[in-house]
Subunit: 330 residues, 2 copies
């Protein structure tokens, strides 16, 4: 299992290549909420999402500097591995669903990777990836079931703890989006190490609430194969083999929100935090603003602090415009 | 004239109240440009613009803690003074144009200030402000012709120099939007002190290019009274009395771009930097991406570094949607 030392080592390895993204708050939004809300702006990370942390750590950890890399991804891990490969002078092949946002496909190509498209509902990206990997002798960088990836994502958690400390605030609740669970697993290890009293939550679209169901059941469960969501970055069918035990061990519990709340959260992030966030990247904020979560703070004595991860910002303009058409409920 | 010591003192005064905003770059955008572009994301500052720096420094500098404050502003200085007043337990009255973006008026009210609306084309905000100030015994915080405001804005320049140093990059060119000139004057003092070889530029909408004309003429000139621009934050008629000599002394030269280029720059900032930027806040980026500015780098030997200030992000959704409808030219 990934340890806090693995995350610290990851940070030492990637520190000069990544952005330290800000932890932001909004005086105006807080005045309308029953808690103080902070957001970790990983949409400002290089390649537009947190995935660059794990991608860098995994690619930079390969000892043989001549080996090419390969990844399958809906777009954010794709761009992360593509740029990490370019920075270390390796060839990269990326397998992407043909319905991925255009900006993600264009971004991946712009970093010099070869892109192979597939149908996410009829083909297995894992099988395609493993076939090409064996043909090329390339190293497959899995998007979440890879210890170096998890450790890399965890560096965002180290930053959150340090930034909270610099602001002299505690963190009562931490909510992270959860696809395969790499980001939540990594940051949960970091936060539970430094701030053991923080409550940890996974956030998912309602149609892809496999982590929520799995945490409640105590075993890995899958979504229905016909499930659909606009949260393209996190529509994984079930929790990861390596990540799920970490979520259990760190005491995560599950939250979910409908797609329309993700759109609303994108509008909130745009209006109050001045950030571009994609649907999957906004789901933690959507869960933080859900009536069910807000109601937990009714009559709370001490004003508490909630940190929501805004994990990425790679979204096409038409989807974003749809978000801005959502009436602001705050 | 404001000195580097004044800016350092301002920083000591406001350091715990402001955000240190990130200096961001985009690998993908840089690959399409003849220089490396960095943006200073002041749209992430508290209240959504750099104005909070100067507002805080001016309000916190008032010795009598019981005096109310008053300000006239198109919206960003308004919100800055309103929040700074609330943080120091003072009453604030803000005089705003009735056609200011709704988000700016709502923001100012949300910070607890009393808002007085006026017609920006037929009434003088200065006269209204001075009348109320004398009636209430309130301290008038001018938006740019105030040494404490200029020094406060200059703290963004200190951060830029430190952030460039931390990235081990120099700054060949620095471009800042320019309304009355407080931000450019303050940051020009800081940057010319720490990085004396940096070329400094004002950026304005073409219809409000008074600073460009004034710098070329060597004296303060005004725009036509019927000039109009969507860049509501920076439609001041002429350079400030205190700010203009600073722009001259630090060797600033003038750039301008049409309103449609400001919209395009908003789309660029959204797409590549994941930031919400308002029209006036995007004009420095628009000037950096203008054909005239880009052409200066043709055949340049060493790859140069350009820093553009993204000064604010308080924009209504309809204006932003119009920006996203602009075809991306990069």
């Amino acid at each position: 299992m990934v340890t806090i030392d693995d995350i610290q080592n990851a940070r030492n390895r990637i520190h000069n290549s990544i952005e330290t993204t800000p932890l932001l708050t909004s005086d105006r939004l807080n005045s309308a909420l029953p808690f103080d809300l902070y957001v970790k702006a990983e949409c400002l990370q290089r390649t537009g999402s947190f995935k660059f942390r794990g991608g860098c750590n995994a690619v930079f950890s390969i000892e043989d500097s001549t080996l090419p890399v390969i990844a399958f991804s809906s777009g954010n891990h794709a761009q992360a591995v593509a740029l990490a490969a370019r920075l270390s002078n390796r060839q990269a092949t990326i397998i992407m669903p043909e319905d991925a946002p255009a900006t993600k496909i264009a971004g991946t190509k712009s970093y010099g990777a070869e892109v192979v498209l597939y149908d996410r509902y009829t083909q297995s990206r894992e099988e395609i990836g493993e076939k090409i990997a064996s043909e090329q002798g390339a190293i497959l960088i899995r998007p979440y079931d890879n210890e170096n990836v998890i450790a890399g994502q965890g560096t965002a958690g180290l930053e959150i703890c340090e930034q909270a400390n610099a602001r002299n605030i505690g963190i009562d609740h931490y909510i992270s989006c959860c696809g395969g669970g790499g980001l939540l697993a990594g940051t949960a290890i970091a936060i539970s190490h430094h701030l053991p009293d923080t409550q940890l939550y996974s956030a998912e679209p309602e149609a892809f609430n496999d982590t929520k169901l799995s945490l409640a059941a105590g075993k890995r469960l899958s979504n229905a194969p016909d499930a659909r969501s606009i949260c393209d970055a996190i529509v994984t069918p079930c929790p990861g083999e390596l990540t799920f035990p970490i979520l259990q061990k760190t005491g995560c519990s599950g939250l979910s929100a409908p797609d329309e709340d993700a759109l609303h959260a994108m509008h909130i992030a745009w209006s109050y935090f001045k950030l571009t966030v994609e649907p999957g990247g906004a789901i933690a904020l959507a869960c933080a603003l859900s009536p069910e979560f807000l109601s937990r703070f009714e009559g709370a004595g001490r004003r508490q602090t909630v940190v929501a991860m805004l994990s990425g910002g790679n979204v096409d303009a038409d989807m974003f415009t749809a978000a801005l058409e959502q009436a602001l409920r705050l």
